[in-house]
Structure formats: structure tokens, C-alpha cells
Symmetry: D2
Subunit: 350 residues, 4 copies
């Protein structure tokens, strides 16, 4: 049974492969009369494009989003919005070796086991390129959320073991890592460069914060806001952990400390991460994702071929050394999609 | 829009409140011809019942599961299986104060904001009692998984800051905390007793492991096995964080170390937690959940009443001091439900 | 994959068998703060109960609806509403022969083929008794629709070939057949009695009319209001045909005649049956269902046994001679469920 | 809440407007390893193209289907298959009047009421052009059904009141109306020409027959095969009635006549239309759809403008005089989509 749709009322279905014709999304359930143009996508799409940092993969596509349907005279019509991002710079040759060998840490092995046949070029459907469609959908989601005046911010809390000590959200667009602490940016860059020189890669931790969300979003007991955020984030390739609010730290706190006192002017702490019983409580929604190091490395690795015979693989080509800066707008987009969906779900019963 | 169903092919819908008539589940999509009787539920239901440890809440219901439909002559018929667990020991009086005051860390505030009207007795729908239906559904899920010979185990990795150092799954049913390390059980008990004496509570970390799962389960790009496991776990009250495999530790590893080498006899490490690209890879599936300290504490807390006026609340009554031992079978059940659903989803395209 | 849920925002899941413990429904997505009590179900449940006409099946259960969850202090809470109707008068003996032989026109054969094992007593899950849950859900749906002031009426247009010539909706509760034409009621009764005496059965045509529905309900291109009404009606056992507005007659009209002229005060005709392009247009929604003669007849019929060997079957026991009067409240309920669902769906984007 | 997806396991989401960039479909859930190329669509797409009969609309686009994703090296990969049919011949000018006036019998009025803003050109999303995506999806569905050797045929049973008297399925591709009776083809053509000359339009009845379908498809009690077929057919614009098997005629038959006797070699009659209790019984599945006369007529009609003021409208431009021949492949496609979906659903529990 298929799994390429996300959301129930604001429903995003994505399609496309890394080295096929392109990547796309169909958004069904977007309300009508929202202004939307192809220009609206430029900024966010640029945010996930490689080439932001000097150590990024050289593949650099414009990633312009074409609106195929659902918009008339610059305004949404309530019908499905199809978005398409054509692949432009698709050299398949470097990937011929993947016809035979599985890359450790990649989905090659599992796609082969599941489907028997898959587009191995650049990871095909399992490529990070798939996230372009998520970012595009996130742009529309943010437009849907406009009446709520929710502000979603995403930033790098930690990369390669270097952690931000200050939280200055004003600077996250002033450095290539979306880091809220300018004081650690150079150190992050050094760690990244060093990994790249070694043909290795690093991971990190990304935090997403949604301010201004009203109390009441989330549908217990299974479609809790926290549960859908966790699913949305965990569905992004490379994410291996999720925390809401205090997260794993909460496991070590006493109840008397973890409970957020309630006052007439709001909660005095936010260990809950803005969600109680799966429903937003009006405080900032705070969610963190652990991003694993990118599995594509230049170092020689042990693997097997399609026939199960042992082999050694040393990838050559153009690879990021970390998913972290590029995944930041993707996680922001997923948060926007989840919130837009729950906003519209909430309207149905209000 | 409603959120009380989970799964797509093996679909569980739950209902019921803590102090209403009872808790139930309707399982739609269970294949026919599976032997099932009310006795099959006894063990797992007992596992989540309070009273396992000497410091547990004194409320102790038999929690017998009644099969209302879907089974004929001891065998499932393929029609919906309705399960009902009648509430027996429901004293509402201690909860009258909740008609006025919101308990910090609880869903009272958000349910009131969302629904305007809610059954506040014992938490109503947001009570941990809701998980009884999940455990019952998990029993059926495990029967569905029987042909795959998957073995699911859940245990307490850490409680109140005390962490298991050994992993002996053979002992988890030999101590009241489902701890795989008998050497730390006493220490866990002390920390729990101390918290209880102080009128406080503690949290912990639970790990779930599924062995024997074949490669191929999971539906990218959104309904990845990891994403659905994360959602299922995060939908359980008190869970604030999720890790698959190396989890947050992966964020600090180099790619060369985090990648699991592939050999003809399998993966040599399991940082992936048995899931690559959202699809099971044949290795053990490993997932951890951070459980917050139970918010019901006896200590006086700052809160507000329904009119927003400041108030102080000191709960009296019967409360667990930790959700941890009781949540173990619940998380096991959710893993079983997710795997059963994905097993049946996988069959539809195989 | 399961099929026992209907609706997306107002979602009804039913369970139960004719001769099991009972029949039930879980309604997920009902807004909070709607007054609801067990007494609210009495009238509609009585409407589908056998025994209305002198020729009905003698099995006559009170069919009282028990609310298991989702209502607190007489008001819905927004959590799932579980309804249960206990089977009381369940004599299984007359059905022992069905363990061996398939009844022509019944689902015995297909349930056996699909599930391999089924509760054959009284049709089990495929019994008309299943519709009790639909009627109960319809009562809640009508409460959800209250703000729209939609009035849904259902009546027998034709039975056993006898067709109503007048449309006096004021009399449909003054005769046992819900017929809007008192002038044909006696003739209907005669045809029914005659069929019963012969051990045979008759069918008919039921019309459902929803007045006061605002323009705008329905979600093209697949979840059109007409499409969901058609599905809802066709999912009721015994229904073999559906018409909206002019229906099959429209196939023979010219466009110039079938088009409903639009004037400042509304449409001058209603061939569309209140739905254009799958969206309600503000006029009365009119839908008709063809109801086949009940397949349970006393006459000897040709059939086969489970091993495929030829056999002859003459049913004995208590059977209706027509589904028609009893199906009228069921079809009304389904219309209410579809409209309630689309009303809430419409709210999510409005 | 959105309604542009159909099917649960074989899931089709369509998008696009009549005079936008194009029409498309995303098929999620198609199994991997099915050969598929753009050439596979040519025949079926040609079948719904205008221009088959001399009286058809002159707009005649090639309607070539572009595969945007999901196919690699000529074989499906199990990932979403995106199909796109670019609009080529889109003159918007004739539609400028629709910016002001609602066409009787069209969705203009209801789209305006529902969405406030819509692409009025050629009907936009509510145009018959939308069905191109359904036909394309139907081609893939038929490939999915290949292992079952189901043969689906669709034909015109009646048009403009002229009814086929013979059922020779061998001739349906030898006349422009897909009529199984060559003896009435000329008469059909005359009626159609006459309507066209008068600036009027006619409707008809289309029958779809699926042979070779095994017993067991269909998911009671709501997702019965009959219910999903009814929904799929009724979701096609212009369809106002649906019959399964004997349909409305069954309402007038006695049970003794309507019941299909069962013999060791099968059913001796097929009043059930191949479906019992919502599950296929192995016999031919037979479904009929009533198609209303096309609402676009040249004759002057009474209507209103967007401000509700009375107006008169006489359309000019290129219109079919009947939807009937062109809708035949669309209904065939919908039957294929429903059967493919239920085939895959059935596999999940078998």
C-alpha cells in the first residue's frame, strides 16, 4: 500500500526521482483564494540548494518550481496544486556502479529487497533530492497558516559535535549553516572541511520552533500534534531521532521540575515543547531532529553486490559532507505541512 | 477531523475514557482464520496493570478483555474485531477539583481549549488508561505477525537516571521494572520509592526491539517504517522523544563509523536500527522512547482555574510515581501494531 | 484492507454480527458540545425494527442503544462516541443448515470464498441487522447537521411494483410502509401479503430528500457529494441501483430540457437532484435507491454445499417479505452521515 | 477536505484544468516490475478523444501521456507514477462570457459558491477534459489486473433513446458509438445529428462488464465492490444513475426470480451483476451508468450572473452533442481502477 502522501486535509503527494525527469508534489486540500505564484518558491528552494557552503556538492540546479494546476489568475482555486521541479543537471554515469553494489548506510539494499527493481541513479526515489518537493509544499503550507500568524524557524543546533551555545535567531540566515550562534560557525566549518578532506561526513541536530500557534491543534489519541510532527520529521531521510520540548532530558527530570507551571500569563517554562496531551498549548512548539552523517563517503567501505558477494566500494563524485545545512529548510517545511494540516483539521470541528 | 484510528490495513480505532463505562478498540483489517480468544489477552493486559511494583497506584482492575465481534467458533472471521474493557473501580470524587483547576503537565488545559467540554475525571480520554486498548490491539497484532516469526521485546533501559548496564533480555520478566540488568533493579526501586515519598515522580527510557523482521517493510517516502514507528510511539502519552538505532548519537558520529558495513552474512553493526531509507533491512529493529515523569504529583503546584485565575494545586489520591514500568507493554503493543500494519501493506504489493 | 469505516471527518466504523453479542458503531470526528443521550436513538431505531407491518418478521428486539463513550454530562466531548446495541433474541438453531448450504442471493457464498470462515448464523456480518449501527450513527449525524437546518426525509416510492402517485410527505409516518401516497398503501400491503403467503419476497424503490442543504457541499473530482451518496446508499445490503435527480430518465432527455434554468430566486426545475458538478447547489437533494427483493424465501431453491455439490434449500424461520419499509430509515441515516461528513469537510476549507 | 484521490491501495490522485497547462495523475501503490511505456496509453487515450464521430467537437488534441516518474528502464519501480497530458489547443477567448454568467446544468454555479474563485475557462477543473487523467490511470490499472486475466469491456447500451437490441461485443470498436448492435448505429447517428443541428444535446446509458474476475473482491460493509464501483462511476461528470446487475428492474422482481440459482458449474442467471453482499461472486460484473445530455447547448437559456441578476445565455463554440461515446472509455477506466484497487486490497489479507 502506498506511502507517498502526507496529511489528511492539507494533503501532499510527492513523486519523482533524483535522475528522472523531475520531482513534484500535488497538494490537495489547499483552500481557495490564496495568492500564489512561482516566484513565491524561490527563497525557500534556494535554501535547500547545494552550494550554500564552500564545501557543498557542486551540483547546483536552479530548482525553479513550475505550477501545473490549481492556480488561476494568481490565486488558488481550491483544486489540486501540482508543482513540478524539472531535473536539469543529471549525469547518470557516475552511478553505474550502483547497478551492482549497495552503498552502506543507503536505501539501495532495502529498495532492492522490497521492489526488486529500482532507479539506482543518485539514489532515485530515496535521494535527498526528493526533499525539494517537500520544501515546495512547505511554501504553500506557510501560506495556509498565514491567518494564524504562526512563525516557523529552523536552525542548526549542533553539527559534527559542535553545539550552538547562544540562541540568536536573528543570525541564522547570516551564516551558511543556519546556526543561531555566530561564535561557533567557524568551528563548524572547520569540522565540516576536515571531514570532507578525509572523504568522510558528519551529522548534527536541527531544531524547529513554531511561535504563535494557538492552543487546540492536534487530534488525540493517535494523530496527536506531537505524533504527526514526529512522523513528518522522521520521514525525512537521514533523521534518526526526534525530541519534543525537553525530549530525552525529560526522562531524567523529576515531575516537579518537568511540569510547566501555569499562570494567568502563560506557562513559566516550556519543557512540554508547546504540546500537552498531543494538543498545542499556545506556547512555542519546539522539536529537534537528529541527523545522521551522510552515508555517501569517499572512503573505502565493505559491502556486497546484488548477488550477495562481498565487495569494496569507494564512491567518487560530488557529495555533500553533511546533510545538515540543507536539511534545515526541509524540516521547517515538514513542520509547516503538519501545522497547516492540523489547522484545517481543527477548523472542521470548530 | 478525527484522530482515533491508527494503521491503514491493520486499522485500530480506540474509544473510551478513564472513568466512563470502559475502554475499547475496534480492529478492522485483521485477516480471517486466526485463532483468538479472550484468554489470549490476559498476560499482556496484566503487564500494564498497576500493582506490579510495591509503589504502584493501588487501583487494580482485572482488565479482562471482552470480544464483542469478529470472532466465531474461536477463529477470526475477517470482520471487525471489537474489544471492550469495562471500567470497574471508578471513583470520581477525587477528581471533582479538576472541574475547576488544570493540572500542570496534563492535557486538562489543552482539552478544555480544544473541546470546550471534557470528561475531566481521571484525565478522561487523555488518561493512561486509554493505553489498555492499545495493549489489547497489540495482542491481535502479534497474532497477525505470527507467520513472520518476529519477536518483539520491550524493556526499561533507564529509570529515574538509573541506566541498565547489561542487556540480558532473559531477566526482564523477573523484575517489576522490565529491566534487562538485575544489577540496577534495586537502585531503580530506591529512586522510585524516594520520589514517591516526596510526592514526586520520575521518568525513563524504554527500548523496543523486533527481531526476525524480514527486509522490505515500510512505505517511503512518508509512511516509512521508521516514521510510522515514531508516530506510534510518540502518540503514547508521556513520550517526548524517539530514537531509531544510534538515534541522537548518530548526529555525533562520522559517516565512516555510522554506516553499517554489509557482508554476505549481514550487517556487521546496527547503527541504522534495522531500517534504511524507511524500509526494514532484516536486522533487529531498535527504537527507544523517552518517557517523561508522570505529571500527577502530590507536591503543591502553580496553576490556573478555568476562568484563568491563579491557583495552587496539590493532588491527593492514588497515582503511579512513574509511567515507566507500565508503559513498557504499551510501547511493545504499538510496535506490534505498526509492524502488523506494514506487513499487511507489504503483502498488497508483493 | 478493511472496509468497515465510512466518512472522512465524520467517520463511522461499525462492527458486530447478527447472532453475536451485538452490533456497534464508533463515531470519530463528532464535534464537542452537542447534547446527546440514549433516549435520542429511540425513535429512529424503532423505525427500522421489524414488526411495523403485520407481515414482518416476528423477531422484535427493543434495540436500545447504549453509549459507551464520548458523552459526558449529556454532551459530546469530541472524543469517539461508541454505541452498542446488544443482540437479545438470538436463536442460532434455525441457521445450522447454513453451515453447509449457501443461500441463493445471499452473501454466504462470497463470504465463504473471501474469508474461508464466517459467522453464518442469520447472515452474521452480512445480515440486515448490521444496519442498526448505521441508523444509530445517523441519529448523531443529524445532530451534527442541526446548524444547517437540513431536513432529511425518506420514503417508499414503490414496493412490489406498486408506485406512489402522490407525494404527500406528511403521511409517511402514518402508514407502515413510509409511503407518501395513502391511496396505494392498501395495495402495497396486499402485494406484500401475497408474496409472504407464497413464501416469496418483493423489492421496491426508496427516495431520500434533503431540504435546506446550502450550496457548496461536495469535494470534486472523486469525493463528489453525488459519488459519496451513491457509495453510501449502494453499501446498504439489497440496494442494486442509485439515481440522483432525474437519474436514468436524464439519459433520455434533451439537454435543453434536462438543464435546470437558473433564476434570481433559484432553479426552476430540479433534474440535477440538487447537485451540480458533484457539489450541492442549494436545491433539494434527491436520491433514489432500488431495493432488491429479500433473498430469504421459503420456496425451494437450487444451490450447492460448501464442497460444491448440488443441493436444494427451502428456508424455514422468520423472515421479512420485503426489505423496503425497514430500509427506509437506513437510507435516511446514510444520507445524514454523508451530509454530516461533507459539512465538516467543507468547514475545514471555509 | 480534499477529494481528488481515489482508491486506497492503488491510489490515483488527479490534477489539472481544461485550459491550464495540462491534466495529470499520480498513481501511488502500483506494484513494481510491471512493464510500462508512454506508447501503452495511445489506444485508450484515443478512445476518449473528440473527433471519433463526425458530429464531435472539433478540438482534437493528440493527448499524449508523458511519464514523469515511477518507471525506470521501461519497468515500474513501485514508486509513484506521475502522468502528464499537456493541454495544447487552448483558446480561452470563447469562455470570457463565463466570467460573468453561469451555464445551466454546469458546475460553474456550484464552484463559484464553494470556492469563490475558479478557472471558468472551458469548465476548468469540472471540464470533461479532467477524465483524460482517469483514462490514463485506467491503463495502468489494467496492467495491474493482468495476473487476474480480467477482461473489461464498456459500450453504449442506449443513446438519445435509441437502445441496442443485440449484444455483440465484437462490434463495439467498429462504430463511432461503441454500440454492441450495428443495427441501431445509424439511428443513433441520426438522433445525434438532429440534436446537434438544433443546438441541443442527448444522453444515454453505458454498460461496463468485467469478465474473469475471481470471487472474493470487495470489502464489506462500506467498501463493498458495488459501493466503490458506484462511487467511481458516479464521480464521473454527467453520470446521474448507477445500476448493478438487474438494478432498478430488481425492485420489481420477486425474490424467487431475482435470486440467482447456484449450481456446481456456477450461477444460472446473473441478476446480481456478479456481486453478492458487496463481494465479487466470480460471475461477470455488470454495471450501468445513466449519462445526462451534455449541458453545453447552443439554444438560449435562462440563467443569472455572478451578482444574481437574470441573464440569457446562448453558448457559441465547439461542443460535443453527447458525452456518450467519449465517456465509454472513461467508465471502463474507472472500473479498472476500482478492480485494481480491490485486487491489491484483497491481497493484503490473503
Amino acid at each position: 500500500m502506498p506511502g507517498n502522501s502526507f496529511g489528511k486535509v492539507f494533503r501532499v503527494t510527492t513523486f519523482g526521482e533524483s535522475h528522472g525527469k523531475g520531482i513534484g508534489a500535488v497538494i490537495d486540500g489547499c483552500p481557495s483564494r490564496i495568492p500564489l505564484s512561482e516566484a513565491d518558491f524561490i527563497n525557500e528552494m534556494a535554501g535547500r540548494r547545494p552550494g550554500r557552503s564552500p564545501v557543498d556538492t557542486p551540483r547546483s540546479e536552479p530548482d525553479s518550481v513550475e505550477i501545473l494546476s490549481g492556480v488561476f489568475e494568481g490565486i488558488t482555486t481550491g483544486t489540486p496544486i501540482a508543482l513540478f521541479i524539472r531535473n536539469q543537471d543529471v549525469r547518470s554515469e557516475p552511478y553505474e556502479i550502483l547497478r551492482r553494489l549497495f552503498r552502506p548506510g543507503h536505501a539501495d539494499y532495502t529498495y532492492f529487497k522490497k521492489y526488486g527493481h529500482f532507479d539506482f541513479r543518485g539514489g532515485g526515489r530515496s535521494s535527498a533530492r526528493e526533499t525539494a518537493a517537500r520544501v515546495a509544499a512547505g511554501v504553500v503550507a506557510q501560506k495556509v497558516l498565514a491567518p494564524l500568524e504562526i512563525r516557523i524557524t529552523a536552525y542548526t543546533l549542533e553539527m559534527g559535535g559542535v553545539r550552538a551555545k547562544r540562541m540568536d535567531l536573528g543570525v541564522i540566515h547570516k551564516n551558511p549553516f543556519y546556526c543561531p550562534d555566530m561564535g561557533v560557525v567557524d568551528r563548524m566549518g572547520e569540522v565540516l572541511s576536515k571531514a570532507r578532506e578525509a572523504g568522510d561526513s558528519i551529522g548534527g541536530i536541527v531544531e524547529v520552533r513554531a511561535s504563535g500557534c494557538p492552543a487546540g491543534l492536534g487530534e488525540p489519541v493517535f494523530d496527536k500534534l506531537s505524533a504527526d510532527l514526529a512522523k513528518g520529521m522522521m520521514s525525512v531521510g537521514a533523521v534518526k531521532g526526534i525530541e519534543i520540548g525537553a525530549g530525552f532530558e525529560a526522562a531524567r527530570l523529576k515531575g516537579s521540575r518537568n511540569n510547566d507551571p501555569i499562570t494567568p500569563s502563560g506557562f513559566t517554562t516550556n519543557h512540554a515543547g508547546g504540546i500537552l496531551g498531543g494538543i498545542s498549548n499556545g506556547d512555542d512548539i519546539v522539536i529537534r531532529a537528529a541527523v545522521k552523517p551522510i552515508p555517501s563517503i569517499m572512503m573505502t567501505q565493505e559491502t556486497i553486490d546484488r548477488e550477495g558477494r562481498p565487495a569494496r566500494l569507494a564512491l567518487k563524485g560530488r557529495f555533500d559532507s553533511s546533510a545538515v545545512p540543507r536539511i534545515v529548510p526541509v524540516l521547517k517545511a515538514m513542520a509547516a505541512v503538519v501545522l497547516a494540516d492540523h489547522y484545517l483539521r481543527w477548523k472542521s470541528i470548530s
